[in-house]
Subunit: 738 residues, 2 copies
C-alpha cells in the first residue's frame, strides 16, 4: 500500500514542480491569494481580529527595541537559548503582521534579524554545551534548531516581497541553505529518525525547500534521504514525512506515546502539511492514509475529559488541555480541511484564539455566524499500532455535557520511552472530576527546585510502575518485570466492545504482562434510569497454573466515608507496603478481611459520594495505602489507594462502581450519602455463561449475563435463569426487573 503511495507521490512531485515553484510569496502557511482574502474578510471575524490585535500589541513594543542576536553559549533556560527561540517566534509573528496589515515596520524588523542571523550563522561551530546526542549550533540540541527554522522559513516567506534581490541572495546563501543542510545532510540520523525530533527536522527542511524553490530539499523532507557512509543506508519509505504519517499514528490516529506527547508532536505535522497543501495541492496531503492528519486531531480531542483535559496516559503532566497552542493549528486545520464540523467551533471558542491564516479566518467567520455546536465526546474504541493491530484504548461514556461519566481502559502497546506498565488499567471521570485517577508523571515542568523541571526519580520508581495504576499487579511486580524492551514487544487485545441502548460493554485481555498469567477485564456500564444511578460493573479475572498474589488497585481520591472491612489501622507507627516496583512508596494505613458476602467502600470527593461494592471472597485482604514512603525530596503527592488482595492460582474480582448523592456545603443538605446498592452476587448459570446480579436498595434487580465462549456481535444466546428464559444477541446482556 505504502509503495503505491510512494510511486504516485514521486510522479506528482516531479510534475508539480514547475507548477508549485515560481509561485508568488507567501507560499507556506499563508498564500498571496489567501492574504488578499483575509484582508477583505477579517473585519467580519471578531476572534481573528482579536488574535491579530493581541499579536500586534506585543510586536509593536518589540519592533521599537534594539534587536539582539547573541553568540550561542547557554543551555536551555539560559539567555542565548531563550533569545534565539524568542527571535524565531518574533520574526514569524512580525512577518504575519506585515502580510495582514501591510505595515513596513514589521517587515523591516524581520529583515534586520534575518540579516543579523545571516551574518552570524556562517561563523558558528557546534554549540559549546555538549550534552545532546545531536547538538545544534544556535542551541544545545538539534530539536530546537529545527523548531527555529520552521518559524524562520515562514518569516522569510512572509517578507520575501519586501526584500531586495541582494538581501534574498544573502539570507538564502548564508543562512537558510546551510541551516537546512545542517539539519539534513549533516545530521542524517536525526533527520531520518521516525520520532518527534525527526518530524520537526523534516518539517523545517521541507518548508525551507518550498520557500527556496528547492525540490531536492522538499523531496528529502517527504521521503527521507539516503544516508552517508558509515551509517546504514535506509531504503526509500523508511524515512521522511510520509513515513512519519505511516508509522507514528495508528489507523485511528492514536499516537503511541499518548495525548500529552501527541499534542506536542502535532505542530510540525500540521504546519508542514499546510505548506504541502499550499504548494502541491494535488498531493491531497490531508487525505493521505484516509485522512490521517485530520483523524489524529479528532482522536486527540476525544481523549479528553469534559473540561478538555487530556487523559494522562503514560508520562503526562496533568492539567494540559486542548486550549494548548499546539491544538489551535490542529483544530483550525481540522475544521478547514475536514467536514466543517460545527462542534469544533465550540472548542475554538474555548481556545479563544485562531491561526492567523485562511484556516483561522474560516473558523473565526463561522464562529461570527454563530455556527458553533456543543462538542460531544462519545464511547469509542481506538486502535494502537501503525497497522492498528497493537491493542488500543476503549472508552465508555454516558450522560451528556458537563456531567458526563467517562471510563477508559488501556490495552495499548508500551508507548516508547514515555510508556507506563499499565495494561488493562482504568481512568474514570465524572464530569471533570477524577473518580479513579492515573497519577500522571512525577515532574514539575519548569520548576527549578525540582531538578530544573526534569522528570524526577520517582517518575520511574512510582509513576511508571503497575501499582501506580488502576489495574492488577501480580506478586508485587510490574508488568513485564518493568522491562521496557520486553513491554515494547507486546500489547493487550480487545475481545469485544458492545454498545446497546441500556448498556455498553468492553472486554480486553492480556496474556503477556506476566508470564503464565492470563488476565481479562470486562466493563459493563449500565445506563441510569429515573429511579437509580448509572453503574459500572468491573470484572477482573486472572488465571494461572501457579499460585500468585493478585492485587487489584483502585486509585480513589478524597475522604474515606466507609471502609468497614478495615480492621486495623496504623496508629503509633506506619509501615511501608512493600520493597520495590512502586510498593516502596506506599504506606499501609489500614487493612482487614471481611466475613460478609459483600464489602462496601465509600468516599467523598468534592461534594459527591462514590462507592465500590465488592463481592467478597474468603481470604480477600483489603489494604488502604497512601503515597509518600521513601520519598526523601517530597516529590510525590500524598494520594491514596484501595487494594484488594487475593492469593491463589485464579482470582476473579467483581466490583460495582457507582457515583451517588451529594452534599451542599452552604445549605448543608445531603442526599444518598450511602451506596444505593444492596447486594452484588455472582450467578451460577449453564456452561458457557456467567453473570452477576446487582440488587438496589429500592428493590430493583439487574441481571448481567455474558457468554464466555461466543464473543461476536452477531452470536445468539439463550439461557434459563430462575425459570425465566433470556434470549439475546451479542456477548453481554443486561436485564432489569423490579
Amino acid at each position: 500500500m505504502w509503495n503505491k503511495g510512494l510511486i504516485i507521490g514521486w510522479i506528482w512531485s516531479c510534475c508539480l514542480a514547475t507548477v508549485a515553484f515560481g509561485q508568488q510569496h507567501p507560499t507556506l502557511t499563508l498564500t498571496k491569494e489567501g492574504v488578499q482574502d483575509i484582508r477583505k474578510q477579517m473585519p467580519q471575524a471578531p476572534l481573528f481580529m482579536e488574535t491579530l490585535e493581541q499579536m500586534q500589541q506585543k510586536i509593536d513594543k518589540v519592533v521599537r527595541e534594539e534587536i539582539a542576536v547573541p553568540v550561542p553559549k547557554d543551555p536551555a533556560g539560559g539567555y542565548t537559548h531563550e533569545k534565539h527561540k524568542e527571535n524565531s517566534r518574533l520574526m514569524y509573528q512580525a512577518s504575519v503582521l506585515y502580510q495582514l496589515t501591510g505595515e513596513q515596520k514589521y517587515a523591516g524588523f524581520v529583515t534586520e534579524l534575518l540579516e543579523a542571523y545571516a551574518e552570524m550563522y556562517p561563523t558558528l561551530l557546534e554549540h559549546p554545551i555538549k550534552k545532546s546526542y545531536a547538538p545544534g549550533k544556535l542551541f544545545w540540541q538539534l530539536l530546537n534548531e529545527s523548531v527555529w527554522l520552521v518559524y524562520v522559513a515562514q518569516a522569510y516567506d512572509g517578507v520575501y516581497d519586501y526584500l531586495t534581490e541582494k538581501q534574498r541572495e544573502r539570507i538564502t546563501t548564508d543562512l537558510l541553505k546551510p541551516f537546512a543542510h545542517f539539519l539534513s545532510a549533516e545530521n542524517p540520523e536525526v533527520f531520518n529518525r521516525i520520532h518527534n525530533h525527526g518530524v520537526w527536522a523534516v518539517a523545517a527542511v521541507g518548508m525551507t525547500g518550498y520557500v527556496l524553490e528547492d525540490q531536492a530539499l522538499v523531496n528529502k523532507a517527504l521521503y527521507g534521504m539516503e544516508l552517508t557512509a558509515g551509517i546504514a543506508h535506509k531504503e526509500k519509505g523508511e524515512a521522511g514525512f510520509y513515513t512519519h504519517l505511516d508509522a507514528l499514528f495508528s489507523p485511528d490516529g492514536y499516537y503511541t506515546e499518548g495525548p500529552y506527547y501527541h499534542r506536542y508532536a502535532l505542530t510540525p505535522f500540521m504546519l508542514f502539511a499546510l505548506a504541502i497543501e499550499n504548494n502541491e495541492p494535488k498531493r491531497q496531503i490531508f487525505k493521505y492514509r484516509d485522512g490521517i492528519l485530520l483523524k489524529t486531531v479528532e482522536t486527540l480531542l476525544q481523549l479528553t475529559n469534559v473540561d478538555g483535559t487530556f487523559f494522562p496516559f503514560n508520562d503526562a503532566i496533568k492539567g494540559m488541555d486542548y486550549t494548548t497552542s499546539s491544538l489551535v493549528a490542529g483544530v483550525d486545520l481540522l475544521y478547514a480541511y475536514g467536514k466543517k464540523d460545527p462542534a469544533l467551533l465550540s472548542i475554538v471558542e474555548e481556545q479563544n484564539t485562531v491561526l492567523l491564516n485562511q484556516a483561522g479566518l474560516n473558523v473565526a467567520l463561522a464562529l461570527a455566524d454563530g455556527k458553533q455546536q456543543p462538542f460531544n465526546r462519545t464511547s469509542l474504541v481506538i486502535t494502537d499500532g501503525s497497522s492498528g493491530d497493537e491493542g488500543g484504548i476503549g472508552i465508555l461514556r454516558t450522560g451528556k455535557g458537563k456531567e458526563q461519566w467517562t471510563t477508559s481502559m488501556k490495552y495499548t502497546s508500551h508507548g516508547l520511552s514515555h510508556g507506563h506498565f499499565d495494561k488493562l488499567s482504568l481512568l474514570m471521570y465524572e464530569g471533570a472530576q477524577e473518580i479513579l485517577q492515573d497519577y500522571g508523571a512525577v515532574r514539575y515542568v519548569n520548576v527549578k527546585q525540582k531538578e530544573g523541571g526534569r522528570y524526577l526519580p520517582e517518575n520511574k520508581t512510582w509513576a511508571h510502575q503497575t501499582i501506580a495504576h488502576n489495574t492488577l499487579i501480580v506478586d508485587e511486580t510490574s508488568h513485564y518485570d518493568g522491562d521496557k524492551r520486553k513491554s515494547s514487544k507486546h500489547h493487550g487485545v480487545l475481545v469485544y466492545a458492545q454498545q446497546e441502548k441500556e448498556f455498553q460493554a468492553l472486554y480486553a485481555m492480556d496474556t503477556t504482562a506476566y508470564s503464565g498469567v492470563r488476565m481479562g477485564r470486562k466493563l459493563v456500564m449500565i445506563e441510569g434510569t429515573s429511579d437509580r444511578e448509572a453503574v459500572m460493573l468491573d470484572v477482573f479475572s486472572a488465571e494461572s497454573e501457579e499460585v500468585h498474589q493478585y492485587d487489584l488497585a483502585y486509585h480513589y481520591q478524597g475522604q474515606v466515608m466507609n471502609a468497614d472491612f478495615i480492621e486495623s489501622t496504623a496508629n503509633q507507627q506506619m509501615q511501608v507496603l512493600g520493597q520495590s516496583n512502586g510498593y516502596q512508596h506506599l504506606w499501609k494505613e489500614g487493612e482487614g478481611i471481611s466475613q460478609e458476602s459483600n464489602t462496601t467502600f465509600t468516599w467523598l470527593k468534592g461534594n459527591r459520594f462514590y462507592s465500590i461494592a465488592s463481592i467478597n471472597e474468603t481470604g480477600t485482604r483489603y489494604l488502604l495505602g497512601r503515597l509518600g514512603a521513601n520519598d526523601p525530596k517530597f516529590n510525590l503527592r500524598r494520594d491514596p489507594v484501595l487494594i484488594q488482595r487475593r492469593t491463589g492460582k485464579h482470582a476473579r474480582f467483581i466490583n460495582v462502581i457507582i457515583p451517588h448523592g451529594g452534599r451542599n456545603q452552604v445549605t448543608e443538605l445531603t442526599n444518598r450519602t450511602e451506596t444505593p446498592i444492596a447486594e452484588v452476587k455472582e450467578l451460577t448459570l449453564m456452561k458457557g455463561y456467567e453473570g452477576v446480579t446487582i440488587t438496589w436498595k429500592n428493590g430493583e434487580e439487574l441481571q448481567v449475563f455474558w457468554s464466555t465462549e461466543k464473543t461476536m456481535t452477531k452470536d445468539k444466546h439463550q439461557i434459563e435463569y430462575k425459570g425465566y428464559k433470556y434470549q439475546w444477541e451479542g456477548p453481554v446482556y443486561v436485564s432489569a426487573m423490579k
Copy 2:
C-alpha cells in the same frame, strides 16, 4: 445603661400596645401596606419575581398533594421529624404566596395544615425520643419546636384574613397559645437561656405574641420571664431578646462562637427584629445598642475570604459562605434599615434570592436600577466580649478584588462550647485560596456514615487542640491544658494595630494560655511594589522563667517544593509525632536542623508558589508532620504541617511569608518558582528597639523597626542605624532602600 433601655422599653411597650394591636394582618415580617406596595412594584424587580416564581413552582406542586401531619415519633432525620419541619416551611411559604398573588389555593393549603395541627396538638405528650436536655412535642428537642413556631406564626399571620372567626379561635386556642406556653412557661430554663436555643424560643414566642395581640407574651419575649418555683428567679435584664442583644454580641458585632455559628444564630434575631419593627416601630430595634443588629451583619460579612466563605474559627464546617439563607435576611435587612450601602447589592447578586417582603423588594429594585457596587473587605480590628474587652480578631488585608491577600490573628475569648484553643493563631488566604489553614471542625454534617453527621471524636482530640492551629504550642500541651473552663475565663490582648500607606502592623499578646509563659505575636504586612511582592513579617516571641519546648506550627497545603533543612525522612516506617493534645494524630514525615543563618520552605498550591523564609537559630528543629495517625475511622484529612521547634526559656521565631510566581499548566510556563527573598536578618539596635532586615534577590532592602516600649500611635521615635537617622511616629516603621 441597660437599665435605662429597659425602663424606656417598658414605657413604650405599654403605650404602644393599643397602637400595635388591633392592626390589620399580616403584621410580622410582611405588613398589609407593604403587601400593597410589593404587588404594585414587584414587576420592576426581576430578582424578586424570580424568587417568587421559584417558590410558586415548588408550592404549586405541593398544594396538589395530600397533606400529612403524622404523630411525632422519629428522631432528627426520620420521617415525622422531617415532615413537621417541612410543613412549617411550606405553610410559611404558601402564606407569603397568598399575600403576594392573592390566590386562594395557597391560603386553603395553609388553613388545612393549621387545622390539622390544631387537631393533633392538644393530644401530644412529650416526644418519645428522650435524648435532649429539653424535649419537645413535635420534635425530639425544643430547638426544632421553636423554629417551627417562628414559621407557623408567620403562616397564620399571612392567612389571618382568609380564616373564619371560628377557625382563628380554634387555631389560637388549640395550637398557638398552648405552643407558645409550652416554649415559655413550661420550659423557662430554655426560654431564659442566653444562647442561640434561647433566641429561637424568644423569637417564636414574641412573634406569636404579636400575631395574637398578646402583649404579655411579647413582653416575656422581650424581657424574659420570671421563673417558676424550683428554678432560680432571674432578675429583669437577665433574659429575653434585649438581653440577647446585649450579651451575645460584642460592641463590634462579633458573635463569640465565630462566623459559622454566627450565621446560624442570626435568623431568629433578624426575623423577630423585623416583627418588632413592624409592630412597635418606636422601639427602633434596629438602632438599639448603636445598631447592633445591623453591625453584627456587617461584621460577619467582613469575616469572609474573597469568595464569601466564612473564616473557620472554632467549630466550623469549611465551605459555608454568605449565600446561606440565614444571611439573605441579614443582608436584605441591613440594606433596608442601614445606610443603603450599594456594596451589599453585589452580595445580593451572589445570593441570587431575596426576602419576599418589603426589604427584599427594596433590594431587588435597587439591583434592577443597577446600583450595585463591589463589596470591599478591609483591614480591621474586631473586639470580642459583650463589653468589647475580651480580646478580639485583627485582620490585615492588601490588594483588591479576587486577588486580595488576607491574614487574620485571633486573640478572642474561648467561644463557648464550640471554641478552640487557638490564641494568637493565624489564618491566611490569597484570594479564595488558603495559604495557612485552620482545619475547621471534624464533622461531616448530615452524612449518616460519619456518626449520623455529628461532631466526630477527632473534633476534640485534633481540631480543638492548639497544634491544629497556626500558633505556638508549649511542651506539646494545648492552651489552658485544653480545659474549656479555664480558657473561658481568659482572652488575648491587642497591643496595637497600625495602618500606614506602605505597611500594616498588628501586635497581640497572651499571658494566660500557658502559666508562666508570656507570648506575643507581631505581624507586619508590607505592601508590594512594581518590583516585588507584598510580604508578611511574622515575629512570634515567648518568654518564661522555665525551660520549655516551643513549637510554632504552620499549616500549609499542597506540595513541598523545597525544604532543605530536612535531613531525614520516614522511609520504611513512620512514627507518630507525639502522644496527646493532638500530636497523636500527626505522623513525622521528616525532620532536620540547619547550620545556615536562614532556612527556606517553599510549597506549591494550585498554580501558585509560597515561601516561608526563617531566621535559623542553632538548635532549631524543623519537622514536617502529616495528619492521619490514630485515626481508625479515617475521619481526618491527610493535611500537612510545618513545625519549627526550639527549647529554652525564651524563643523568638522570625518568619517572612511570601506568595510568589506561578505556573500555567497549559503553556507550561513558570515564573519566580523560587523565593524572591535573599536574606532575613535580625538587627541589633539601641535599647528599646528591635528590627529585621529583609533583603530581596533584586537587591532591595527593607528595614523594619519597632519600639519594644512605646506602643502608642502618637509615640515618636528616633534611632540611628548604619549611620542613618530614622524618625517616625507609631510603634512600627518600615524603610525601603535599593
